[in-house]
Amino acid sequence: MKKLMLGNEAVARGLYEAGCRLVSGYPGTPSTEITEAAALYPEMYCEWAPNEKVALECAFGASLKGARAACTMKHVGLNVAADPLYTLSYTGVNGGLVVCVADDPGMHSSQNEQDSRHHAIASKVPMLEPADSAESREFTMAAFELSEKFDTPVLLRMCTRISHSQSLVEVGERADVPLKEYVKNPQKYIMAPANAIRRHPVVEERMEALTEYAEDCPLNRVEYAADGNRELGIICSGTCYQYVKEIFGDNANVLKLGLVNPLPVKLIIDFAFSVNRVVVIEELDPVIENHCRSMGLDVEGKDKFPIVGEFSQNLIRRVLGMEVPESTSADEQIPVRPPVMCAGCPHRGLFYTLAKNKVTVIGDIGCYTLGSAQPLNAVDSVLCMGASVAGIHGFNKIGEGQNKTVAVIGDSTFMHSGMTGLVNISYNDSKSTVIILDNSITGMTGHQQNPTTGYNIHGDPATKVDLEAFCRAIGINRVRVVDPYDLDACDKAIKEELAADEASVIISRRPCVLLKSVKTKAPLTVDTDACRGCKKCMKLGCPAIHMENGKAVIDATLCVGCGVCEQLCAFGAIREN
């Protein structure tokens, strides 16, 4: 029977059916549900790793031992895992090894719009790109076959629209794939220079063999227009294929590429000569287009289509000079609705205090990035995971001001790549103040466990990293914990630690208010007679508070009674009911 499945769930299904034994991942939109869905199959060992490099290296270990293994991450995660990837290309695999990576054209939930195909090209690793959920399952299974046939890790490239779209999938049974024998093989697995120099030619030969394979592999296919018109030929892959079919239906000449690295040569040339005009339609960078040009083909592509943002059927229609459907819009200005910190979010009290103290905040990535939004406006920089802790050290090494600057980082992000930055602060002594926002969960990506939460991916009890002990062990003497719902305590902690003449860590600790285990309180109310309309409570940017007729009003459906606004009100107008 066919089932409606997310692309990510279909990848997990593919892992299961391919006999994969181990899946290690680090959450990141839009890739997260692959690992979450994989964890529902008891036949596979699944885990959240502290970061993507660890996830890939863990999968490498399982592959070395002879098992089929996979790891998952978002596009920027592949940067973190790039180090093992590039050399895994040299060692090759024992059991099949698949690296699932999800791009985010349009940056729905990302800090950049990088195109992971460049990593495939640079690391000389084959990459598959499915165009719907059914293909997500099939290509995952094909990736294992390729991995073992060509002795290479294989990248599976997902993107937001494939990962987060449900479409119909015909599922099968799990294959019984025996463990391969582990045989010690230093020439293949010890990548010291003398061995690696002999492995490099193997990589080059493998790319040639893969290019050969690309010419007539079932992952790439040509569809000719049913009406016989050979004017326009389109080369595309992934979501763009769906947009093209949406526009032309069966009346399109399409070369659909499923193996996006390496790209075929003859297949493309033959296709190009079978039509009058070739247009390459690809989101992000002109990878296929540049390949065509390098073969001397005169194709159209980024001269017409944008490099920035995601495509849609109308965007393609417009570029190709076709009509787009009529549409109306409102005459009124429609206010934007940006994401906000939830009512009762423990991050809010801390950011309010930072803003009040006019502190420079070297930020990081997580729900707390929202501390940068109006009205708190409390963050100065956000670069990549871990860059807050590492960055403040450099910031503070230059000139004055270390008593006016803090780094903020979430618990998951600290485990991911903040720890090493803190070691640097301690070792190279910058007297920096680091605030770990410990909300006991990986919030931004939708509540995944991490090493600080005390639970594993299944929600079973696990070893919990003791953040205080960790910080002390690496040489930070000043470590203190505050409750971010307590504004006075936050204020005191921040002032004292900034004034201290040594490095310090403040752990701002309170679980995410959306966690099921958190008991919220009754909503607060405003005594309209006592309220003077000073709008001090409005400085919190709490979605549960707004002004009506000059007085503050609390929305009882949103308020969870955290009491932070109550502490701010000088007139005692905000109270428990």
């Binding site: 839009p30 779209s165 206010p335 994401p339």
Partner: protein
């Protein structure tokens, strides 16, 4: 059959995922090819969220573009107006009339356009406006707004009520089935 397009729009956290699950399930049962697309992640935190449901003989694109939606189901007034450009000529908006202020309105940077639906109607847009929150409360939970709206949508479909209720039974936890069936009825029978 040509592909039909339904959009579900609202504010992150309002429960659009259950509505799209229900529709996806129902339309699969009816034998259609179906695609349901949603964006997870950042936008869940009180931001504007959109889900696309498409069905027909063969569905290609996962998204619904400007001028293509047959129905826009909205959990909130402003969101209905935000996405109206996706409505095709002759399409219909089904919206809850309740207002949820976005942050720029809360901070006073801009105002909420309270009359926006009326002016859209003035431009000839078909809009079903209902107080879905009140109906959900009547059914027993504010959270049932999604199913109230599904009830209203069902009026425009040739699919018998039993099939909708069967889909509800499939998609919600047993202890909430009765509540949601009631919410569905209230939505379906609303004026």
């Amino acid at each position: 059959m040509e592909t039909k397009n339904i959009m579900i729009v609202g504010v992150g956290g309002q429960g659009s995922l259950l509505a799209s699950k229900l529709l996806g399930h129902l339309l699969c049962q009816e034998g259609y090819d179906v695609k349901v697309s949603e964006v997870h992640g950042m936008s869940q935190r009180g931001g504007s969220v959109v889900t696309y449901v498409r069905y027909g003989d063969k569905v290609y694109s996962p998204i619904i573009d400007k001028g293509e939606a047959d129905y826009i189901i909205s959990f909130e007034k402003l969101e209905a107006a935000r996405w109206v450009s996706c409505l095709r000529e002759g399409g219909r908006i089904i919206t809850n009339i309740r207002e949820t202020d976005p942050m720029p309105v809360i901070t006073g940077a801009t105002e909420y356009p309270h009359e926006v639906l009326n002016s859209l109607e003035g431009k000839g847009v078909s809009i079903d406006q209902l107080d879905a929150l009140a109906l959900a409360e009547e059914a027993g939970s504010q959270k049932a707004v999604n199913i109230v709206l599904m009830g209203r949508l069902s009026k425009y479909f040739d699919i018998p009520t039993e099939k909708w209720t069967a889909a509800i039974e499939e998609c919600v936890k047993p202890k909430f089935v009765e509540l949601n069936k009631k919410a569905f009825e209230l939505g379906r029978n609303s004026k």
